[in-house]
Symmetry: D2
Subunit: 469 residues, 4 copies
């Protein structure tokens, strides 16, 4: 029964099929650095409180760093029987140090050890994601500045609605990503509480100093209830939820840009370098990266579902089911990190087909609402004004006129006498854009103010990007 | 084409089947108070900026309050053709006031109006949920105090692991609920940003004052990008996620108490008033409330999934799909509020069957880990100590001894010479409990400290509950 | 303790909050007809085996039919204390008949009674859905026939790929719906097994005849294991899965038609009667029905998730959690039935904007693959031919030529000498379409064959629709 | 631009980050055998219709088999630039054969090629799962026979309800698994339709014979609509749904056996070989395999969610999102296959602790319902009889009597005069079991009949297992 550190009371060997079924080393090995970092902090604390001698502590630390180097160099043998990365590292330490190695697991359990490693890993990964979010925000702000003068049709129900500045459009995604960063920061704060020292579920009778470990590992606090620690996976679920929202934002954006890359919309030109072709159709150039960003949101939602189903109905405290928290967490991070990186590549590489957009900007009566508001400002009740302009649009459609401006002064006045010649001042997309004035609107001054705010907030050099696009 | 406020450009009536399919009045009518509150704030602002006269504003406000009273009294007729609660209220206002009523929808769209109402509703509901969480925390702390002296077997893998104080157990759930409250507070803060004034998607050319509306409605800020507002449902998804985590915590707890109510565990006595019987089996007394709390977590997860699927791949800005945000949000709130209320009823009503628990506390070798730690404190490496005690447990099992204390001094010493007679000082559940000392552990002093912290934090009267249970 | 039919062993009344929390009458009342049908069949069987006299049976049957009439007429009072529709009906029967009514629940439990009613309901609902699927198939086949001559650009990656006949396009959805009908039929067959007589979980000691009940209620068989019956909800989950796949198919189609209704695609004209307008933008005409069909797929996926989370980890046999199966099942049916009905309305009402489609059919090099296949047929290896045509497309793009046919004979021959003048015979969309020949392809003869197959299979009158569209 | 078989029209190389993001070779390489099998069938058909010479076909076949051998031997180099397993194999073939290799991709696209390979793979995997389901059924039937004489408490609401034979219990799971096999067979039938020849989305102008390919590859039919093929992933979703239901059944069973392995229930003894210990608690022996079977159901539900989110709202035909179908499909199969294998290991290895079960069988008034039915058979209305027995149970509880049999004849008669001494004939668990008689019940004769049915159906040797357990 050698080999299992928990086998004292067992009379029979573990079935090989059971070993294969229960192992986690195939996926948790990526926690090796965090495990070693946690163990070093733990060992130093054990020394401080007298459970290790300074020499033992030093040996352990040196041994662990050697093991880390071996893993990094690819010289470390992982075997199924040793279950997980934590057992591997401890077993290797015992091979190196004998009894001194056997002391490392003092006053801790795998339950709290694993969660400590996983939290350290997730904390770093959250920080990487935050960096990637910021990079994508910068790419978007940069695009906003590059396309400052471009006017786009804005859509609701995917029908042309009102004109918007391209810069306004880009900043809308910057806002969404900012909420993602805010959620991420809240999640990180809640996660950043030390579990180590909760031991299996009840704490320990040994005189440990958990605050010292928290300080050494950069945790903001120490978990106050050992049963809670042993049973808690909130941090994993909340983390994956934060990632899910990012994935959803990217999926909506990707959908939009897939549409905009069609022959029919024709708003966007994607460089060859980010497209792929077809094995059968020689003329194809497909926006695969965008499609995969959209599609991979599904994997993140699936990971969240996995975690929510996993923890459902589990009584306290630790249950082995919880081992299954890692793969969905890793999958969600891997997916979102890759999607964020590629999204920035696409935003940086794509350019608007400005002429193509401008060519059809007059379609869709994008100025109708502004004309209605012109009437309202003259005292016409909104509902009445809405109907007046609605009928003018209907008239245009029946007569094949593409623009409200194609109506004569007489026709306008007939619809409502208050629609005098000065009404032309808000007709046409350019005029309509200039007419906006509310905070948060697509009014040029408002957009400039927001652009300045983000430029400063993201520490971008002002005026670095040329106007136009 | 009378009846539809948007029908100016339409030549044909809406198909009745389409009206039935697209209506939301059957479920959004519960937003009527929030809609009216939002409209009053909007009207006052319109007056301030000169788009309504003081008289018009006063008439509108009075009209809206009359409508509110009619709805509250059940005298208001809801009809499918008027689509949603917002159209109903505006149409009723126009019936009352004519042209003045027609002015209310100035400088807003249903897009921003609906989200404003929904955010106001969700904000209130979040506050109710926070209150219910706090009440449940109090019930748990109160139970912790009532059962201060009770020792429970603690479990991992649902196998008896180490002894824990009942108070420690109850506080573990208080911690989980505290994280829920923390998530809720973060979500509320992010939600509490005014959408109104974003209009359809681009803002407005009318001179509105959005900050004034935010102040009037208690929003902490004003949304900075109209396209973002028109397309955003982050607040709904995050809210339902917060509720999902609460539901998951309750489901785990309910599962545990269902187990504890079995004949086999027998830890808990549930009062008749919260149980139900069987239509066929005369002897049955079932913990239905707990089962339904566990089962209803599924509905909340389902609501979250609905929202995540709903928004997946939607381009900007508003799409009609988003109308479907309300039912899952309402369902999640209704479910979680009811579950929280009943959970408190159960916690308050349930009592531990202390004799029954105590009777079998000696089963499961709950003191084995403490004995191992006793050896560690004497300098035995943890892995060695673990094996020594593991073998002693195996020996007990083979010989039919239920407790480590049933071994003789000689047998203990044979296992390891350092296991002298003083080792008996940590044997037995009572001794084991007393031996704990780490922060966050089940050590009596630690648990008392936590109990004091929560008593103060939740403003409970100290010492109000009798010790014991 | 009057009022609860299971209260014999209970000393205290049920808490009102518990009654409100555990009731299901608010949503299971829609099962009243199925419950009564099941009870009548049960009573007749009880008479056959001698557990009821013929008179008692007659009284019960008459009483149940009276109750059904009262419910249908809206004269039946539903009260929370009576929990569910089954208790309501039985209690009303007892009020009418006294002891005779008290005999109805002989040899059955609510567990098997509820599932019997729910299966009867679901079976009818599945049949309605099958009918709705067939109606939608007919509408699609009819559209295929109306648009037999129309050529559409086919897409992959939402990029123009190859030309397809509109009839081919419509039949693709007919195939998808046919798989849905096939899944539905399999599900119905598996569902259609009688649970009644399994009683609570173990069967009964009374001499019932389950086969007779199955025959009376139209079940194909009798469930062979009472524990399985008491714990089984496979039929509900599989039913909702079948509905989910329908919802997914409709969502994909709705997305496509939303795109096709944009100003940019412009393929489809939707009648006013199925569109709605905007409260603020006078010119808008939005494809709300399609958006809601797309959006409501989320609710069905959410219902499936609810059921999958609900049953996760439940031990045998019945647990009260299972009461929560009804609402997601009802929601999924209501949603899918409404979506199918409206989808047929849209398909029947929409018409292709044939001129608009034709105008741009030459864009996107839809004939490139056919030209490549022309080369392959002449012996050029596919990969070589693919590269030759790919380069010709690249050349056209760089020179601003929209069509391969714009290249001269010399240019074609220069690319590959085998590209002689006869290659023009496959250039242009019309020629490309004519060139197809594989089974299942968009070749006109193949499409006609498929159209004939579906016309016959769906019992549509041949040639009823005029060609063209 | 060498290297990409679709690069004819491309001027720039693919970005390395894009290659890394879009590759699928890291997970689709497991399709290599299916891809090669499909390609050989395709090549033979191409020869038959004259698009390849017999020699070319022979070369291709030999080349593909060489490549298969290289991959199997681990000598094949996979590189990211070649995207997927299909491109790898084709490129290797071209390296071997030059122009002849370039002909293989004639009249097919990756779209139909990939789906063909995936369907072949899924079909084999479904057959493996069906075999594993059957093995588990056999293990259960074998356990039913081994424990034929054991009586268990049956549960509803996890409260003791009525007694059931252990054999009846095991057969309940056999029924559930049989429904799984039935669903699987339906799914396999619907899946087993040939996609190859649909080409990209519209079929081909080359004279292929799809029926011949279907025959060669064992497909039951040929897909009738190329657009449908190009966009369809029903088979993947339905397959994962079938697996989800299996996972749910296993999760419920695992939960039950986790409970039964507790100290408190004590029904089951699990061999050491399938348990694991604790790193800190020396006495622990945990049912990890069962916990992981329960927990891994979450991954399968997550995979289903991923697929349902993935396909949501995708227009026709192929979109690159669909590449993401493979990982959830593989994960679901890997998980369910492993869980089924281990479930059989556990069922075979576990034994009931018969004495422990019997010891407490008298608790919970398991005979109360039978006693009630005894009264009903004497003409007492069910509701009255229910109340009579309910009160007797209440009386026992108040007086501390554990069993109804502990009541005197006089006390029984006082409750209802028809409760004469012969009523004792149904009291006690053994009598209660013998009293059952309905079809599908736990009546010994009924259970024997079911056991015989399954023994024969699963081709188990009769009488091979000793009675008892």
């Amino acid at each position: 029964m050698a080999g299992k550190p928990w086998s004292g009371r067992f009379a029979d060997r573990t079935d090989r099929r059971v070993e294969a079924f229960t192992e986690s080393i195939s996926f948790d090995r990526r926690l090796f650095q965090q495990d070693i970092r946690g163990s070093i902090a733990h060992a130093r604390m054990l020394q401080t409180v007298g459970l290790l001698t300074p020499e033992e502590c030093q040996q352990i630390e040196r041994g662990l760093l050697e093991i880390q180097a071996e893993i990094e160099a690819g010289h470390f043998a992982f075997v199924q029987e040793r279950e997980d990365v934590h057992m591997h590292i401890e077993a290797a330490l015992i091979e190196k140090l004998g009894d001194t190695g056997r002391k490392l697991h003092t006053a801790r359990s795998r339950n709290d050890q694993v969660v400590t490693g996983l939290k350290l890993w997730a904390r770093e990964a959250l920080d990487r994601v935050d960096g990637a979010l910021e990079r994508l925000q910068r790419a978007l702000v940069d695009s906003a500045r590059r396309h400052r003068e471009v006017v786009l049709p804005g859509y609701t129900h995917l029908q042309r609605a009102q004109p918007v500045l391209a810069a306004h459009y880009f900043l809308a995604y910057v806002e969404k990503l900012e909420r993602d960063r805010s959620r991420l920061a809240d999640c990180r704060r809640r996660l950043n509480v030390l579990p180590l020292g909760a031991a299996a579920l009840a704490g320990t009778s040994l005189p440990i100093d958990r605050q010292a470990v928290a300080d050494a590992l950069g945790f903001d606090g120490v978990a106050a209830n050992s049963l809670d620690v042993s049973s808690d996976r909130d941090f994993a679920v909340e983390t994956v939820f934060v990632l899910t929202m990012i994935a959803e934002h990217l999926a909506g954006w990707a959908e939009e840009w897939i549409l905009w890359s069609t022959q029919e919309f024709g708003f966007l030109a994607l460089p060859d370098a980010i497209c792929t072709g077809s094995s059968i159709m020689p003329q194809k150039k497909n926006p695969d990266v965008l499609e995969l960003i959209r599609g991979r949101s599904a994997r993140v939602v699936g990971s969240l579902t996995t975690l929510l189903v996993l923890i459902k109905g589990l009584p306290m405290a630790y249950n082995r089911d919880l081992q299954e928290d890692k793969e969905p967490l890793f999958a969600a991070f891997d997916t979102v990190e890759a999607c964020l990186e590629l999204a920035a590549v696409v935003v940086e590489g794509a350019s608007f087909r400005v002429d193509r957009i401008a060519e059809r900007l007059d379609e869709g009566f994008l100025d109708a609402t502004t004309l209605m508001e012109h009437l309202i400002a003259l005292g016409v009740p909104q509902r009445t004004a809405h109907e007046v302009i609605g009928k003018l649009v209907g008239q245009c459609e029946r007569r094949g006129l593409k623009r409200l401006a194609d109506l004569t002064d007489a026709e306008l006045a007939e619809a409502d006498p208050r629609l005098g010649p000065e009404a032309r001042g808000v007709l046409g997309v350019a005029n309509a854009i200039r007419a906006f004035r509310s905070y948060g609107s697509t009014a040029p001054a408002e957009v400039d103010a927001q652009l300045a705010r983000w430029t400063s907030r993201l520490h971008l050099a002002e005026g670095a990007s040329p106007a136009g696009g």
